[in-house]
């Protein structure tokens, strides 16, 4: 653990006291690592750390746990579920060799899929730190991860979207109006997911019913989720609510998750309860996780690690529970962790790459807050890059403006731009529904028909008369 790592460049010898220090100082610059006091002091120190990192055997990460096995249940999960046979393919490589191998034609989608159980999050994080943005995009393109519940998410050539119909008072008609807006723009095949303004069990049950009614009534091949605490969702299930997906924010250290108020046992219990409802039609992935760089530091639970390494470890938590969706909420946490558009862009590509490499159905909340140095142009860039990288899903909000959480993310219009720019179709079951309802015709240049389907038109006419 205390072995020193050295690198000599010309007259200068760079010394790093620990693996954690090498990892942190090799990380491309970002505000959160500066805040934690773990980032490289100079650009040259960063380059030296990257060279040290590139020379390390991947096996280092199996013998030198960044957070001790005894102290952290996430470390125990990573070590106990590691598949040595799958790892054998790359066991002889250094981190630098691993980058070369990932980019090579040996690393086909099938080979990468077989490798997953042999990869630890720390290996993914390490190689990520010495990859350029185009490397992160290119390798992610080769990682295919498909999941299913009532729609099939993540097939090649497809992009899914979450309708995020948040309302500051959880008003049912306000929420329904945003859902309608999204559906009419062809969004919602990943999930219709509400962040409740009032976070209690009764409210979560009410919102579950609201969404289940709509999904049932219009026979929409999608799933709903109330983004409330896992223990609330468990109570909803026990109370008879029509729960499709269980949500939880997850972090990469046990202490982070303790600060979120849960442990791995809670996730297992909730997953089991959701599976017992058997509400999926084409698959049984019932978990929806959100993550984001900086959450561990924010909870003072980062153990001196850099935020990107903590983030990758969160994916070990996520993948253990076979999620339908994992979403890195990349720009939400604020400028003290990701200062500007450049840092948000880099982090979004890193998270997507690491998640996909580890086998997660990785989406991204391409977003920023009003106290960050970022704007819509930064979001246009990141969403386009992620579209090229094969991102599984993005958020969809009316006009990019979340009126409850007070930040900006991608809009329904944005998703259609990506579809047209890159030829990306919605999930097949949902794509068929959109065509059948005469809403969006993917086969005809992603053409919106512009009218309202009969059922929706009747609902609108009714409120126009009575409203």
């Amino acid at each position: 653990m205390s072995q020193a790592y050295r690198h000599i460049i010309g007259q200068q010898t760079w010394i790093f006291a620990s693996l954690a220090e090498v990892m942190a100082k090799a990380t491309p610059e970002r505000a959160g690592d500066r805040l934690a006091g773990v980032s490289a002091g100079t650009a040259q120190e960063r380059a030296a750390a990257q060279m040290v990192l590139a020379d390390l055997p991947l096996t280092t990460f199996l013998s030198d746990a960044l957070i001790p096995y005894e102290a952290d249940e996430v470390t125990r999960l990573i070590i106990d579920t590691h598949d040595a046979a799958a790892f054998a393919t790359i066991a002889h490589l250094t981190v630098g060799d691993f980058r070369d191998w990932l980019l090579s034609d040996h690393a086909t989608p099938a080979v990468l899929a077989a490798l997953r159980p042999g990869l630890t999050p720390e290996m993914a994080a390490a190689v990520c730190k010495i990859m350029r943005n185009q490397d992160l995009i290119r390798v992610a393109q080769k990682c295919r991860v498909a999941t299913a519940f009532r729609s099939t998410i993540g097939l090649t050539g497809h992009l899914s979207t979450r309708i995020q119909p948040n309302h500051p008072t959880d008003d049912v008609n306000g929420i329904a109006a945003s859902i309608l807006d999204g559906l009419m723009y062809g969004a919602g095949d990943a999930v219709i997911g509400i962040n409740p303004a009032t976070d209690n069990v009764a409210q979560a049950m009410r919102l579950s019913h609201l969404m289940a009614d709509i999904i049932d009534r219009y026979d929409i091949p999608t799933q709903s989720c109330v983004l409330t605490h896992v223990t609330n969702t468990l109570e909803c299930i026990n109370g008879g609510a029509p729960v499709d997906l269980v949500f939880q924010s997850v972090g990469g250290t046990e202490a982070t998750n303790t600060s979120f108020g849960f442990g791995l046992r809670d996730l297992a219990e909730a997953q089991s309860a959701a599976l017992s409802l058997d509400r999926g039609t084409v698959g049984r992935n019932v978990m929806y996780f959100e993550t984001g760089q900086g959450s561990s530091l924010s909870a003072n639970a980062h153990h001196g690690l850099d935020q990107q390494t903590c983030e990758a470890r969160a994916y070990a938590v996520a993948r253990h529970f076979d999620p339908l969706l994992v979403n890195t909420v990349v720009g939400f946490i604020g400028p003290e962790y990701l200062f500007d558009g450049k840092e948000i862009t880099r982090a979004g590509l890193e998270d997507h790459f690491c998640g996909k490499l580890l086998g997660l159905p990785m989406g991204c909340d391409v977003c920023y807050t009003n106290h960050a140095e970022a704007d819509q142009n930064d979001m246009d860039n990141l969403m386009t890059l992620l579209g090229v990288a094969g991102v599984t899903f993005i958020m969809g909000i009316p006009g990019s403006d979340d009126i409850m959480l007070n930040y900006q993310t991608t809009s329904f219009h944005d998703a259609l731009y990506l579809r047209r720019a890159l030829g990306l179709r919605p999930a097949p079951e949902f794509d068929d529904w959109l065509a059948r309802m005469d809403i969006l015709h993917s086969a005809d240049g992603f053409r919106l028909s512009g009218g309202l389907p009969d059922g929706f038109a009747r609902s609108l006419a009714r409120v126009a008369r009575h409203g």
Partner: protein, 269 residues
């Protein structure tokens, strides 16, 4: 020219009338699949206003004046965090969670420790605090049972956890932090409430209960006050707060209805 061309390139959404149900930017219409110019520019203006709101300083003199107008509260205390200015605050969150050394030293336990410390923090929107803190407190005072309240403590350049620092110094049994939430494009004035039982420096969010979006156009003062009073009563009963304290406030108290039927749930036939 524009008048002749507009109808052919801009498609309006027939459901735009649903905007009466929400401030969300629904029914924007489209050119191709993209945003019409009018919507693009409206968004840019809203973003510019929110950006400027982040940097607007709290008018503490006016706030103190408003607080003095409330019956049953002692003279307000005016304190600062360790952040020296807005830039320092934005880049270094730990500074916003701790009182400045001088203010921490000066804040001491009185002969009677409060049951509830009232801490008002500018956070990311001074506007929210300026507009909503005093009227919310007025509603809260109406709903609380008899108990010993601290003087209202105003902290500038502060974050939520600074409430724990204040409460610990005062020896308070519980703390209610009223803080300006990050400004949104449609709601630059949302006040957030954070309640913690037996607050100690170093507590994390799992120990807190949050009530969000307190403002006239969001959760109104009366309902927010009822929920805050409920949290205090439950915490007194359970001896804890946060994840272990589920908000099961009744419909009446929380202002919720049990109805989950929206206009989209109506039978399509």
């Amino acid at each position: 020219m524009a008048e002749r061309d507009t109808p052919t390139v801009l498609t309006e959404d027939p459901w735009r009338s649903l905007r009466r149900y929400t401030d969300a930017r629904i029914g924007l219409g489209r050119v191709g699949v993209s945003l019409p110019t009018r919507e693009l520019l409206a968004f840019q203006l809203a973003h510019a206003q929110a950006r400027d709101a982040v940097h607007l300083a709290l008018d503490t003199a006016r706030l103190v004046g408003d607080l003095r107008g409330l019956d049953g509260l002692a003279e307000p205390l005016l304190l600062g965090s360790q952040a020296v200015d807005r830039d320092d605050y934005l880049r270094h969150p730990p500074k916003g969670r701790t009182l400045s050394d001088g203010d921490a030293t000066g804040l001491t336990r009185g002969e009677v420790v409060p049951d509830l410390a009232l801490v008002i923090v500018d956070g990311l929107s001074s506007h929210a605090v300026q507009q909503n803190a005093a009227p919310f407190l007025r509603a809260l005072l109406d709903q609380l049972p008899p108990l010993r309240l601290s003087a209202p403590v105003v902290v500038t350049q502060g974050r939520v956890a600074v409430g724990d620092h204040v409460a610990e110094r005062l020896g308070a049994q519980a703390v209610l932090v009223m803080i300006g939430e990050r400004p949104g494009l449609s709601s630059p004035d949302s006040l957030g409430l954070y309640f913690t039982w037996a607050p100690r420096v170093g507590f994390n969010d799992a120990r807190r209960n949050c009530i969000s979006n307190v403002r006239p156009a969001g959760l109104d003062y009366g309902r927010a006050a009822a929920r805050a009073a409920y949290l205090l009563a439950e915490a007194q009963r359970l001896g804890t707060s946060g994840v272990a304290l589920k908000d099961r406030s009744t419909d009446d108290a929380a202002g919720l209805t049990r109805d989950h039927t929206s206009f989209l749930s109506l039978p399509p036939a």
